[in-house]
């Protein structure tokens, strides 16, 4: 029996910003259909790690293979590779001059090479999946934060990525809007999407994550099933961090 290749296989990833050593040799593998939840104090390098995975940030050294594609090989068509890696940002980053449908169809037309009609059909289907087909004609300014984030998720899933990266997708939302986004993420997980989620939503981590990864100071300190990490962390640093966030 052969073990299936991981979707994400990052090894020995280092990242320097000038004199600042932000990632100090991170190894992260994510299996197909797995949901990996990343926690850690501010500045520990969680965002930087995610951004290295789709090469929005150029790692200083290490290797990153996503869905069999060597992301750091200069011969890799990075724009083609990025289609397979969805990314959702804390601040949504929807295009304000386009409708929801326009946001979702842009890459379908320009990158995936779909005709306008085909792109709109796929775009509407993606909006349907996040429960916003009826808002297709609205611009981001006419949508709530929660709706904007769901459109952003639709923009990614429309390209049928192999893995989705979420960087604090609910941190910019009013508390009452968080649920709708988490619900979409949960449905996505149930549909079998491979996901890496940086977030502070511990409730979501407990009942949706397969694995929790704790990062501190540019390194993965500890990882394991949610119950183990939250209930009985092995490392003192993990315990201190979990204790801190649970007091809030």
């Amino acid at each position: 029996m052969t073990t299936p290749l991981p979707i994400v296989d990052a090894r020995g990833v280092h990242k320097h910003f000038g004199a600042l050593h932000v990632l100090k040799g991170v190894d992260l593998t994510v299996a197909e259909r797995e949901l990996v939840f990343v926690i850690g104090p501010s500045g520990s390098g969680k965002s930087t790690l995610l951004r290295c995975l789709n090469r929005l940030e150029e790692p200083s050294s290490g290797s990153i293979v996503v869905d069999g594609i060597d992301m750091l090989d200069p011969r890799t068509d990075i724009n083609h590779a990025r289609q397979r890696i969805g990314m959702v940002f804390q601040s949504f980053n929807l295009y304000p001059h386009m409708t929801a449908l326009g946001n979702v169809t842009l890459a379908l037309r320009k990158v995936a090479g779909k005709s306008r009609a085909e792109a709109e059909r796929l775009g509407l289907a993606a909006l349907e999946r996040v429960g916003l087909a009826d808002r297709a004609g609205h611009t981001p300014g006419q949508l709530s934060g929660g709706q904007q984030q769901r459109v952003a998720i639709a923009r990614s899933i429309a390209l049928e990525p192999r893995v989705m990266l979420f960087d604090e997708p609910t941190s910019a939302l009013d508390p009452e809007l968080v649920g709708s986004v988490l619900e979409v993420m949960r449905a996505l997980r149930e549909s079998g999407m491979t996901m890496v989620v940086v977030s502070h939503e511990m409730g979501f981590a407990r009942n949706a994550a397969d694995r929790v990864v704790f990062m501190d100071d540019g390194l993965i300190v500890e990882q394991g099933p949610p119950a183990a990490i939250f209930e009985s962390p092995a490392q003192e640093r993990t315990r201190a961090f979990i204790g801190q966030i649970q007091r809030h």
């Binding site: 724009n79 890459a107 320009k110 981001p140 300014g141």
Partner: protein
């Protein structure tokens, strides 16, 4: 003759006006030609420079910044005069029309490059990241995501600057271009009467007032709501 009659006879002399009307009208045509050429070439060149600058190629950007700062510091009249009287020494002799056109186009290029560039850089970094993360290339992102947002921000300063520089066509008189002001002032000295100047003023109003009003409407329409 009352004072009022003397005033109208001097400044709005019907006979003089009728006589020099054709010349003033030709001046209007020349001004329009110059203005259209300056706006088209100046803005296109400014946008092109801003786009090249966004590629972030160091030595190229230094050159762009140098050219832009040069043309933003020199008074337009000096540029026109240098081109008209200076270039012949280098073996090229542009006409007054061409000198005025190119000089003001360079000046508009310089100012509009700065405005386009400010617009491009004011678009949030997250917009680039979102687009690039979906696989759009640098150029596709610039064209489809960044530029449309940047252009909206640039419309108010751009229209103001464009109008100001286009009015500079009057400087063409210095290098013997018979645009409105040139035609009016030569008519004035031939007729010993300032009425042609009044016609010139009226022509400027007729030409530029609608543009100014249109610019105001554009600014309102593109006022950006996020």
């Amino acid at each position: 003759m009352s004072n009022w009659d003397r005033f109208t006879d001097t400044f709005f002399n019907g006979k003089v006006m009728l006589k020099y009307l054709p010349e003033i009208l030709w001046g209007v045509v020349t001004t329009i030609e110059l203005a259209v050429l300056i706006v088209l070439t100046g803005l296109a060149a400014g946008l092109a420079l801003a786009l090249v600058r966004s590629l972030a190629i160091r030595p190229l950007n230094w050159l762009i910044i140098f050219i832009v700062d040069l043309f933003r510091s020199l008074p337009p009249l000096v540029v026109i005069v240098l081109m008209y009287f200076g270039l012949p020494y280098a073996g090229v002799s542009p006409s007054g029309f061409v000198s005025t056109w190119l000089s003001l186009a360079f000046v508009l290029m310089a100012f509009s490059e700065e405005i386009f560039w400010a617009g491009i850089t004011s678009v949030h970094k997250g917009q680039w990241e979102a687009a690039r993360s979906t696989g759009l290339s640098f150029g596709e992102t610039l064209l489809n995501v960044v530029l449309p947002q940047a252009l909206r921000l640039t419309i108010p300063p751009l229209t103001n600057r464009t109008i100001a520089i286009t009015k500079g066509t009057a400087l063409g008189t210095v290098v013997a271009v018979s645009e409105i002001l040139g035609a009016a002032s030569s008519a004035m000295s031939n007729s010993y009467n300032p009425s042609p100047l009044m016609m010139g003023a009226a022509a400027y109003l007729v030409l530029f007032l609608p543009v100014v009003v249109l610019a105001r409407r554009l600014e309102k329409r593109f006022a950006w709501k996020r």
